[in-house]
Amino acid sequence: MKCRVKAFGISRDMVGQGEFDLDVPEGYTVALLRADLTRKFPRLRNLRSLFIAINNEYAQDSLTLAEGDEIALIPPVSGG
């Protein structure tokens, strides 16, 4: 399945791009995604925290991804 990944703030610097496509297998969870991303982009481990959002919502690690989902990497926010 194809998903779109968006990386924001410092996480965009860490993965080297703002958006990219990701091919994921059926039954792929946020926990697996997080493990794969930090293996592929080890600098992400330096973050104080990294949340994953799926389709504009903060996602639990147990969530299973579906075709066409929009994945976002959310490093510590600092709005206001």
Partner: protein, 143 residues
């Protein structure tokens, strides 16, 4: 009203968006760019936003505030892009029949916004730059 904008925020418009003849109180919070951070001069800030999710998260925060306090109106405007010291980064207005509720709800909205809404700022100093709150010292990028 929820607005994410690259243009200067018109505070009066944010206030007007909450107006109600039943309101006796409006509380407004304005965030402004400070000229120093960590003892160094801030030249400018870059605000970045995941807009679709930011709007959704702000909506949730405003709904929760309206659930907790008897509000008559609420509005949030957040600026993105390049901001210089003294400029307004965010304006939040809340109207209510009574002032205590307006203060509490406005404080709840800005506190929760800073915790949950996907917006990021990078401080640009004379000798380098830094994404705020992001990480341990190892990855700060200074010249």
């Amino acid at each position: 009203m929820i607005k994410i904008t690259e243009k200067p925020i018109d505070i009066q418009k944010v206030i007007d968006a909450t107006s109600s003849l039943g309101a006796g109180a409006v509380n407004v919070f304005i965030g402004t760019v400070r000229n120093t951070a960590h003892g160094k001069n801030v030249v400018w800030l870059e605000y970045e936003c995941y807009e679709s999710m930011a709007v959704a998260e702000i909506r949730k925060i405003m709904d929760e505030a309206s659930h907790r306090w008897p509000l008559l109106g609420a509005a949030v405007s957040h600026r993105v892009g390049t901001l210089k010291p003294g400029e307004v980064s965010v304006a939040i207005a809340v109207s209510a029949p009574h002032r205590k509720d307006s203060f509490e709800a406005c404080k709840y909205i800005i506190d929760t916004l800073k915790e949950k809404v996907p917006i990021w700022k990078k401080e640009i100093f004379e000798d380098g730059e830094e994404w705020i709150s992001a990480q341990p010292n190892m990855e700060k990028s200074y010249n």
